[in-house]
Amino acid sequence: MTQKTISLNEKAYKQIKKLKKKGESYSDLVLRLCASKDESDEEDILLQLVGAFKNDADYWELVEKQIQKSRDAHLTEEEG
């Protein structure tokens, strides 16, 4: 398989070295980290639903403003 060389600064190298398991190559480590990031994103339903209301973006912008107004109208009362 073709090999590629990347360079890391000292700090990044120390960080990544800490994550490497015994017997694991740096390539395996990078693949493991990427897989776990993908898995974490996959589990995040909000990321999966990004843009679900995009067709009604203007309506939801208005809703946001109404929410703010409604919240402002229900202030905790000042002491009498």
Binding site: D56, E64, L75, T76
Partner: protein, 142 residues
Amino acid sequence: MNYLLDTGIIIGLLRETPIIVEKYRMLPQGRSTALTVYSLTELFEGINKIANSDKRDAQSKILKILIGQFEKKKLIFALTRLQAEDYSKLKIALERNGTPIPVMDLLIGTIAIDKNSILITTDQTHFKTLKKIAPQLNVEFW
């Protein structure tokens, strides 16, 4: 790291507000994000005001899918009995300071403080006021 999302952030993600989506994607890996029932009331209100019934049903389904996933992880919070006491103390402190804030903001802020979560919100004004009274509130303004 634990995050609590205010309503404006959830709407921003659903309607794909670029800056909110970008910042959300930058949150650390392994994070936990939670919602409050108070945000859900606001989101359902927004949906139930949609005149077109097909559209309303479709968006309601999406919201229920979202809620289902958060429920599975037990990451939808409401004020607990103990937090109710903290809420009242903060409310009194704000009132005595002459800086009342919206009830909804105080409910959400109290939960964020108690859960030691970082609150992510679009509302700078009121949560800045709350932070002055409760410096332990961790808040990010998007």
